[in-house]
Every structure is written in structure tokens, then in C-alpha cells.
Amino acid sequence: MGLVRAIIPMVLVLAAGCRAERGVPNHTLSIKGSDTLVQVATGWAEHYAGKPGRVPVNASGGGSGVGIAGLIDGTVDIATSSREIRPRERAAVLEHRGQAVQEHFIGSDALAIFVHPSNPIDALSLSQLGEIWSEGGTLTDWSQLDASMRGRFVLIGRQNSSGTYDYFREVVCGPGADGKGREFRGGVSELSGSSEVIEKIAGAPLALGYSGMGYRTPRVKWLAIAPKDGSPAVLPSAEGARSGHYPLARRLFLYTVGEPTPASRAFLEWVLSDEGQEIVAREGYVPAR
């Protein structure tokens, strides 16, 4: 899956290169960052290109941190991110580029907790998830949740460059007793792609993992999440993400540096148009408006 997604942008670059030779502006907008948003970004690149006055767009993934690092280095025009930019990244952009970073909200994403279809559990609370995933958490074995189950949790997550990793840790592990943020426990399989997480869970009966709502396949089951112990659990849904009822929803952003150039401003406006937002919705996310 990761490979396929790596190839699409390459094809787009080639396509963009061909177009540039035919006399349309030869500058290319490069968009890079969140793997969560890579399908959206390549979708945008595909649909945006080809009309007069529009520059070719070259979209790729790698992780939110990778996109923002590119923004700091000046190798990327627009960074996609599934988390808010960190203060020190914001400072680094100002230091290296001399201009402040600008944030553009483009939609939201609901993370879902996935398990193997054979798993009898249907719902968990946020605090249970916290005990499962955090360093020093009290839940380590499925039998602690369901007497009919046996075996330790096999935790599947994303690698630490991914915005999903950050977001999930912030919401699920949260602050510990000392008020500081808790870290993930050791031994989580950290995978490089959202679909890879789903694939792995589909093949492991004891697995528990997180990935974007849009990546669900029939081979895995997602869990309803209760925001508090005892409160009703909510299944992931676009509506729940927009309304804030579903507890694992997050906002998605594009970041640019300083005043956008006419080319990138045109693109950003298009992204928030009906056409651009439809692509956000098509990938399983909740549009910004």
C-alpha cells in the first residue's frame, strides 16, 4: 500500500513535468507531509492540474513532521499536517525562513480503534485506552477486559514522525498523575503507513491499533469509544467527528510560510471550494465547511 502511494506522486511529477514543457507556468507547487492526508493531497493534485492558469501540484507523504521539516528547510511550499504545528517548529520556520507560518484548516479526521473481527469486545473508554497504551498503564492483557479472551495486547501504532502518533498519544495517553504527558509503552509495533496498520490488525487476532477512519476495510472491526467511563460509547462517524461527540477526532491543516504566492493562494482557495472539499470527504474525512 505504502509503495502504491509513493508511486502516485511520482507519476504526478512526471505528468506535471510534461505539462510544464508545453508552456504553462513551469513552477510546481510542492505539497508534502501527513500520511493521513496523502490521498487527499494526491487527489487535489490530480484534479487541480490541467486548467489554464493553474500550476502543477506535486504531492507526497512521509509524515506531518516531514512536511513541516520541509517547510523549515524551504524544500516544500505547502505542508500538510494532521496535527497542529508545535511551538518549536513554528519558531524554527520563523528563524530559518524569516517569515511566520500560516495555518489553513481544511477538515477533520476521526481516528478509529481497530481490532480483529473475531474480537468479542465492541467498546472501550478513553481511560481504558490510556491504561492500555501508556507507559506504566495497568491494562496489559485482553483477559482484563473480557474473561473469554486470553493473551497480551498486540499493540499496533504509527511511527513517531506521524501526526497520528502525536495526536493519539495526546488524546489517549494524556497527562499522567504528575500532570506531565504520558508516553507510549514500549513494544508497540510502529508502522509507516495507515493502511499497513489495518493490514497487520486483519492478520492478528490479539491486535489492537489506531488508524484513520477512512482506512477501514471489511477485514477489521472498529470499536465504539466512550469519552468517559460510564458514558455511552460512540462509533466513529463523519457526523460524530464534526459535532465533537466522537472523542477521537482531530483537525487537519495546511501550512504555508508568509504571504502565499499567487500560485499557492489560488490553490488554497480551490482547496476550500466545493470541488476541493469534496475530495476531502471522498477520502473519509469531514470537510472544513
Partner: protein, 327 residues
């Protein structure tokens, strides 16, 4: 290069243009030859030194990139803690405990060697001593082809084929784990080991075999008592090259080990290696950041590992040689 060949051409031209062979100037020719020879010699010396220069340059580069972190790194944590948290939660300091990564590299390599060395040496013995010429030639071609299979393909194989089989047979909850990674690495190093050990065994003069057989040695005695001792340097070199491939391999372990930062408690726990950590994180670490430096430090550690392995093996070979000479 140019002037040398040009001058050589002139000399030849003069010789051809009428002078009797006995009268041609030996000094002119030898001067031309000498210069050409010197250039070639210089080139060869340069080639020889270039490996050392490259090695030094790589080491300096790694150390230079890692240097700023060397002074304020918590070394105790680096070597004894398994908390590798380069991108910590809000308000927390980053942690660079690389113990689990080092253990990951060492254990996967160990599994790989347990698989690859016996099977590789056995295959080499079969090819060099038992197989017919035709079988040997065919097998060698295939084995060399196997050694050239790209590592990402091995990784896929680990993920899609070896993983499911391992989890089926061992009941491992996850197909991608230490055993799967080690098996894939073993499969990758085995062709290297077979190919080079077979060459080493074939290089043992036939007179050794004849002498042993004439003394009534069985085939097994021949292999164990004559061929292995005679070819030990080559066999050790073969195993070292295989080991080197396993230690440094990145793509295959990234796909097949499960990429989980922990000290494994069993053979089927997922692990994470130094190489995988570098490959997965370097793209995201901003240039010059502490995280970036720490990843280069992992590179230094990896280099030191291979260095230690090579020096040890060198000493072992020297030890064997000395022992061989004294007896």
C-alpha cells in the same frame, strides 16, 4: 595519462621510422615506460588507499554530524535505557535510550547467523565435494542470483510469506517479529556464505584430498579434518561477509521485524533494529536537531559494532594461523 601514452606513441613512431632495432634509443623508451609505469603504480596505490580514505571519511562524517550531541548526551541512558522517545509528549524532555535498538540488531543478527552459517557451510561442502560439476555450475549461478535479490524484495517475502508461516507454526501473535526478521536476514546472508565458502573449499589443493583419501579418511573426515582447517580463513571471511550483510541490512528488517522498540522476551516478540530506526526517523528529524544528531550517533554505534566484529574475526584468524604454524 595523456602525455605518457603520447610519448609512448612517439617512441614507437621513431622506432618504426627507419632506425635499426639495435640502434633505437633504449633510454627514450624506458623513460616513457617508466613514466607510464609510475602513473599506473600511483593509480593502484591510490585505489588501495582509497578504501582507507573512504572509511576514515565516513567515520569522520558520522562523528561530525553526531558531535554536538556527544557532550551533553546522557550516556548512561543511551546504553542502559530502552526509552527511545525522540518526539516526546508536550512538556516532556526527549529520551535517547538505545539499548532496545542495539539488542534488536544483535538478536536479529544472531538468529540470522544461527540459520545462515550451518546451512551455508553445509551447502558449500555439498557443492564443492559431493555435487557433480554440472550440478555445481547450475547451483552457483542460482545462488549468485539469490545473493543479488534486492533487500526490499526479501522484506516483502518476510512480510507476506515467512511472517504468516512463523505465526502459524509458533502461535506468535504477530507475524513480523524477531524470528521472522532473523530468518529473512539468514536467507539473505546464506547465498553470500555459500558462494564464498565454496570458493574457499575449492581452493584447497586436490593433493590434500588425495592424501587424506589415500590414508583411508572417510568423506566426513576429509571435510572435517582436512578441508575445514585448510580453508578456515576463507570460510571465516565468508561468514563475516554474511554477518556484515545481516548487521547492516535495513529495508528487510524494517518490513519483517515488526518495528517495536523493546528488548524481546521471546523469539517471537517484535523488535526494532538500529538500521530500521535510522531509516524510519532520519527523514523526519530536522537537520541539525538533537534527534538528527542522535540518529547519527546510532550510525556510529553500528559502525563500531561492525568494526569490533571484523577486528575480532581478524584476531581469531591470526590466532588460528599461529596455532596452525606451531603444530
Amino acid at each position: 595519462m595523456m602525455p605518457a601514452s603520447a610519448r609512448a606513441g612517439v617512441t614507437r613512431g621513431q622506432t618504426r621510422s627507419g632506425r635499426a632495432t639495435s640502434l633505437r634509443s633504449p633510454r627514450a623508451k624506458s623513460r616513457g615506460l617508466r613514466l607510464g609505469e609510475r602513473l599506473i603504480e600511483g593509480f593502484i596505490v591510490l585505489c588501495g588507499w582509497s578504501s582507507i580514505l573512504c572509511m576514515a571519511a565516513i567515520f569522520l562524517f558520522l562523528v561530525r554530524e553526531a558531535a554536538p550531541v556527544l557532550t551533553h548526551l546522557d550516556w548512561h541512558e543511551f546504553f542502559t535505557s530502552t526509552r527511545w522517545i525522540p518526539a516526546p509528549a508536550k512538556g516532556n524532555p526527549a529520551h535517547y535510550g538505545a539499548l532496545a535498538l542495539m539488542v534488536g540488531t544483535l538478536t536479529t543478527t544472531l538468529v540470522a547467523m544461527v540459520v545462515a552459517v550451518p546451512s551455508g557451510l553445509a551447502a558449500a561442502v555439498y557443492l564443492s565435494e559431493f555435487a557433480t560439476r554440472r550440478v555445481r555450475e547450475t547451483f552457483k549461478v542460482i545462488i549468485e542470483l539469490l545473493a543479488a535479490v534486492p533487500s526490499v524484495v526479501w522484506g516483502f517475502l518476510g512480510l507476506m510469506v515467512v511472517g504468516p508461516v512463523v505465526s502459524e507454526l509458533t502461535g506468535a501473535p504477530l507475524g513480523t517479529n524477531l524470528l521472522t526478521g532473523g530468518l529473512v536476514l539468514g536467507l539473505m546472508s546464506a547465498p553470500v556464505i555459500v558462494s564464498i565458502s565454496e570458493d574457499a573449499l575449492r581452493a584447497v589443493p586436490d593433493s590434500y584430498r588425495e592424501a587424506a583419501l589415500a590414508l583411508g579418511a572417510s568423506k566426513w573426515d576429509l571435510v572435517k579434518r582436512v578441508l575445514f582447517p585448510a580453508a578456515r580463513n576463507g570460510l571465516l571471511a565468508a561468514c563475516l561477509l554474511g554477518l556484515g550483510r545481516a548487521v547492516g541490512e535495513t529495508m528487510a528488517v524494517l518490513l519483517a521485524t515488526g518495528h517495536a522498540n523493546q528488548v524481546p522476551h521471546s523469539l517471537v516478540d517484535p523488535v526494532r533494529t538500529l538500521t530500521a530506526a535510522i531509516a524510519a526517523e532520519l527523514g523526519e528529524a530536522p537537520r541539525g536537531s538533537e534527534h538528527y544528531r542522535a540518529l547519527f550517533l546510532l550510525g556510529v554505534v553500528l559502525l563500531v559494532f561492525t568494526f569490533i566484529i571484523n577486528v575480532t574475526a581478524d584476531l581469531v584468524i591470526k590466532g588460528i594461523r599461529r596455532k596452525g604454524e606451531s603444530t
